[in-house]
C-alpha cells in the first residue's frame, strides 16, 4: 500500500466539511474523486498535502505514519517531498519562465539538484508534456491548457510517488481540456500514481481504475471505476451518474 488515509475530519468556521474520510491508494492507482460541488473533495485533497490543516486524521505514506493535525514542519516537508500537486488554476510562478518554474523545485529545495542537472530534468519533463519549445516563455504568454501542462511538468520533475490533481481541467476553455487530459492519460499509462479530483466523467470511467464518490463530507461509495459506473450500489451514486449523463 502506497498511501493509507484514515478518518480525515475538517471543519471550517461552521459546518463540518469532512466527516471522516478513509481511502487506500496502491502504487500505480489512478483514483478519481467525484462528487457534487461542496462535497469536500478539494478540501480533502488539500489536507493530504497540508495546504489545509485537518482537525484530525492520519496518513501512512510508504509505511511512514503522519498525523494530519499535529504534523511538524519536518514531517510535512517529508510528505511534500514525495508528492506533487496540480492546481485548478495552475499557480505557475508568474515571475519565472517555464523552465524556471520546473527547475525551482529541484534547485531551491532540500533536493539541492545542481542547476545544469535540474535543467536537463526539467527539459525532459517539459518534453513529456509537449512544452519544451516554450521553455523561455512566461506563464502569462501561454494558454490555460499550456500552463496546466507546464504545471504537470513541474509536478513530474520532482519525481513524486503520487501526484494530486485538484480539478485540473475545470478552469480551462472546453477546447483546451483535451490536451491536458491526454497528458494525464499518458501518465496513467506509464504507471504514475494519481489522485484526481475531477468532473471529467470520461476520465473517471476510462482512465482511472478506482472511483471515490463523495457527498456531504462523506465517502458514499468507492470501488473499481467500471463497477461504479456500470452498477453503482448506492442510490445517491446512481442519482449522481444519471444527472451527469443527462448533462452530457
Amino acid at each position: 500500500m502506497l498511501l493509507e488515509i484514515k478518518n480525515v475530519h475538517k471543519t471550517f468556521e461552521g459546518p463540518e466539511i469532512l466527516k471522516g474520510i478513509d481511502l487506500n491508494v496502491e502504487k500505480g492507482d489512478v483514483v478519481a474523486i467525484l462528487g457534487p460541488s461542496g462535497s469536500g473533495k478539494t478540501t480533502f485533497l488539500r489536507c493530504l498535502n497540508f495546504l489545509e490543516r485537518a482537525d484530525s486524521g492520519e496518513i501512512v505514506f510508504d509505511g511512514v505514519r503522519c498525523d494530519l493535525h499535529t504534523a511538524r514542519k519536518q514531517q510535512i516537508a517529508e510528505i511534500r517531498r514525495k508528492t506533487a500537486f496540480v492546481f485548478q488554476n495552475y499557480n505557475l510562478f508568474l515571475n519565472k519562465t517555464v523552465l524556471q518554474n520546473v527547475t525551482l523545485g529541484l534547485t531551491d529545495t532540500a533536493r539541492k539538484v545542481p542547476k545544469q542537472a535540474a535543467e536537463e530534468t526539467a527539459l525532459k519533463a517539459l518534453e513529456h508534456v509537449g512544452m519544451a519549445d516554450k521553455a523561455k516563455s512566461y506563464p502569462n504568454q501561454l494558454s490555460g491548457g499550456q500552463q496546466q501542462r507546464v504545471a504537470i511538468a513541474r509536478a513530474l520533475a520532482v519525481q513524486p510517488e503520487i501526484i494530486y490533481f485538484d480539478e485540473p481541467t475545470s478552469a480551462l476553455d472546453p477546447e483546451l481540456i483535451g490536451e491536458v487530459l491526454a497528458v494525464m492519460r499518458r501518465l496513467a499509462d506509464e504507471g504514475m500514481t494519481m489522485l484526481v479530483v475531477t468532473h471529467e466523467m470520461e476520465f473517471a470511467r476510462n482512465v482511472s481504475n478506482k472511483v471515490v464518490f463523495m457527498d456531504g463530507g462523506r465517502v458514499i461509495e468507492s470501488g473499481p471505476s467500471k463497477e461504479f459506473f456500470e452498477s453503482p450500489k448506492q442510490e445517491r451514486s446512481r442519482e449522481f451518474i444519471r444527472s451527469i449523463l443527462n448533462k452530457e
Partner: protein, 223 residues
Amino acid sequence: MINEKTWDTIVEAFPKLLDYGVRITVPLTAASFAFAMVIAIAVAMIRYANVRGLKQACRVYVWIIRGTPLLVQLYLVFYGLGHYFHVNEYVVAIAVFAINEGAYMSESLRGALESVPKGQVEAGYCVGMSYFGIMRHIVLPQALRTAFPSLWNSLISLLKGTSLAANITIIEMFREAQIINGVKFEPLALYAEVAVIYLAFCSILTLVQRVIEKRLNRFGGVK
C-alpha cells in the same frame, strides 16, 4: 526683470548648482533610498508574515513616522540629539530620510505583498520550497514589480526632500542657491533656476522609470 546682471548671475550659478546637485543631492538621495528600501522590505515582510511582537513594533514605527513632519524629525535628531551627543550631519540626513521614506515605502510594499495570489505560495510549498525560498524567489519579486511605480514615486519625493538637509548645515543644491543669493541678491532668478534643475533631475528619473517598466513588462511581469 531679467536684465543683463540677472542673466549673468544665472549663468554663473549654473555650474555651481549643478556641481552640488551631482555631488551632494544625488548621492544623498541614492544612499537614503537604498537604506529606505532595506527598511521597507524588512518592515513589510514582518507585517506580511505576522511576526508577533515585531509586527506591533513596525506598526508603531509607521504610525509615528507618518504622523510627524520630516523637518521636525530632522531637527529632533540633529539639534535635539545633537545637543547631547556628537552627530554627523550627513549620517543624520541619510538616517532620517531613510527612516522616513522607508515607512511610506513599507506600506506600498505590504499592499503589494498581500496582492500576490496565495496560490503562488501554495505552489511553492508543494514543490518543496521553504518559506524564505518562496519569499525570495516568488512573492517578493512579484510584489516589488507591483509596487514599483509607487516605490519610484518615493525615490522622486526623496530627491526633492533632500533640500531639507539645508536646515541641518549640509550644503546641498538648494543651500548653495541660498548662499549665492546671499551674495547676488537675485532670489527669484536663483530659486527658479534651482527649481528647474530639480525638475530636470526628476524628469530623468521619470524617463528611467519608463524604461525599467517596459523591461519588467517584457519579461512577462505580473499584470
